[in-house]
Amino acid sequence: MAKYAIRLVALVYLLFLLALPVGLVGWRTFENGIVPVVESLSSPEAMHAFQITIVVAVWAVVINTIFGVGMAVLLVRHRFPGKRLLNATIDLPLAVSPVVVGLALILVYGRFSPVGGWLDERGVQIIFSTPGMVLATVFVSLPLVVRAVEPVLAEMGIEQEQAAHTLGASGVQTFRRITIPGIRAALIYGVVLCLARALGEYGAIAVVSGRLVGQTQTLTLFVEERFQNFQESDAFAASTALALLAVLTLVVSKLLRPKDAD
């Protein structure tokens, strides 16, 4: 009896929290058939928002992958003063509200700050432009790759790498042929999580982008703008597109994972 009660609670909980809202978005999107959906998604603003979202997400994922793996290697394989501090700092982006992250970036890179001003004089604009949005996205998704890779790297140990060294492999060869394949599954998982987070980022992006329609508007910002302007069909179409992207990344990660587990 208790078993069924627990199942029922879990199902009802999921229904009201996840299935119902997402389902309703999907239903509202396609309530007038597929033609209006295609129309709203193929508007120049929507297409541009798509493009910006992808560009920002891909850059953020690339940067986080490189720094994530490097940071994980540093934390697992090396001992140095300040390691505990670094370790604690990596989780900070998860604790700090993205809006705060955005504001902090404006304080450093805004045109009226020393750093931002210096860059601006040389024609580099960070805030209200793509680099700032990439920075913000990198910041909020910083821990995802590091934390995914770290335990696997620790579990893997250093013996395989040492064996490769004694067999004549250089540091680069060992990293490419032993370390990376060894952490592949975890790395893919981290990258997918990071990608999903980057695609859905709203708070920090909202602050640093300036929400310039057709310029720095990402899909999430597009949804919000259209919703505020009572263009609900546009908002729902873009929402469904975002949700499908998220589902797609998760499916891809699930497909990639079991192959590696042996």
């Binding site: 013996e159 395989q160 040492q162 064996a163 490769a164 060294h165 004694t166 067999l167 004549g168 492999a169 250089s170 060869q173 042929r177 032993i178 394949p181 060894g182 592949r184 042996d262």
Partner: protein, 321 residues
């Protein structure tokens, strides 16, 4: 000499692990580094491989000073206790790894790897992953992988330590035969004195980061330099203030010149041999004799027996440490 280690010192933090260690390994020999856990034997092996840097001292391999060379450039084969198999590669690719790094042509690699897999008897598993092999098979794969690059010296760190007793025994006999075939200078670390005596040409006993004794298995067993070596290499018992081997004790029913009398506490038959436990002036001692000798004497608990060391028995005074 194939390997010369001169005055090597190594400290981890404040703990000295190797203290002024010097050893030499003859070309083509099979040498055991024997000692208790934490004695520094693995560290010494890793210093020879270049996986650890000594604080001071030098390592020479085939006449070349290798002290500052990276492991990559030493051309040594290293086999780890826990195999260090490349988990994401097939058995074939594991063995081929060093050759691919050396950019051998594909056909030559194929030939060499097949040859090695046959040598270690795992040719039928070439396309499997290491996870699909047993421990003994994985260790043979690791050995083939190390031998593939034709190393100047082969270093084995407790190679059979993670295997069960039966496989251990098989593999060490097999290692001895393999060495007689391949003749590469080999050093292996073990804490099992039986393994060292059975397999090695030479034994170096290491304890507390110091070489206690080096020599052939017979020399070390029959002529231990000190009490530690004597205790470590085989069973000992203490009689009249002397440490001796329990099989070096002669038992008789009647007093003999220089014999002492003891009271039998227990007679234990362990297959062919018989273990006689006794007390001697309130001290526990034991002797190891054959079953026929025990039957001849008709030993049983409570009897008084006369004991003395056999001629030429190795004895070390206990008082002098």
């Amino acid at each position: 000499m194939a390997i010369e280690v001169h005055n090597v010192t190594k400290t981890f933090g404040v703990t000295p692990v190797l203290r002024d260690v010097s050893i030499t390994v003859a070309p083509g020999s099979l040498t055991a580094l024997l000692g208790p856990s934490g004695g520094g034997k693995s560290t010494l092996l890793r210093v020879i491989a270049g996986l650890e840097n000594p604080d001071s001292g030098t390592v020479t391999i085939n006449g070349v000073d290798a002290t500052r060379l990276t492991p990559q450039r030493r051309n040594v084969g290293f086999v780890f206790q826990h195999y260090a198999a490349f988990k994401h590669m097939t058995v074939f690719d594991n063995v081929a790894f060093g050759l691919q790094i050396r950019k051998w042509p594909k056909a030559k690699i194929n030939r060499r790897v097949t040859e090695l897999l046959e040598l270690v008897h795992i040719e039928q598993f070439a396309n499997r992953r290491p996870a699909q092999l047993s421990g003994g098979q994985r260790q043979r794969m690791a050995l083939a992988r190390a031998l593939a690059v034709e190393p100047q010296v082969l270093l084995l760190d407790e190679p059979f330590g993670a295997l069960d007793a039966q496989v251990r025994k098989e593999l060490r006999t097999w290692l001895r035969r393999l060495h007689d075939e391949v003749h590469v200078t080999t050093v292996f670390v073990t804490h099992d004195q039986e393994e060292a005596i059975e397999v090695a040409d030479d034994i170096v006993v290491l304890a507390d980061g110091v070489v206690e004794q080096a020599g052939s298995p017979h020399e070390i067993y029959d002529n231990p330099a000190n009490q530690f070596v004597m205790r470590f290499l085989g069973p000992v018992t203490e009689i009249d203030g002397y440490l001796m081997r329990p099989h070096d004790i002669e038992l008789s029913a009647t007093p003999k010149p220089d014999s002492s009398s003891a009271t039998i506490v227990r007679v234990m038959r362990l297959g062919f041999e018989v273990r006689v436990e006794m007390t001697l002036d309130g001290q526990d001692a034991w002797a190891q004799i054959t079953r026929s000798a025990a039957e001849r004497l008709g030993l049983k608990a409570g009897d008084t027996i006369h004991i003395r060391p056999i001629p030429n028995a190795k004895q070390l005074p206990v008082a002098v440490a």
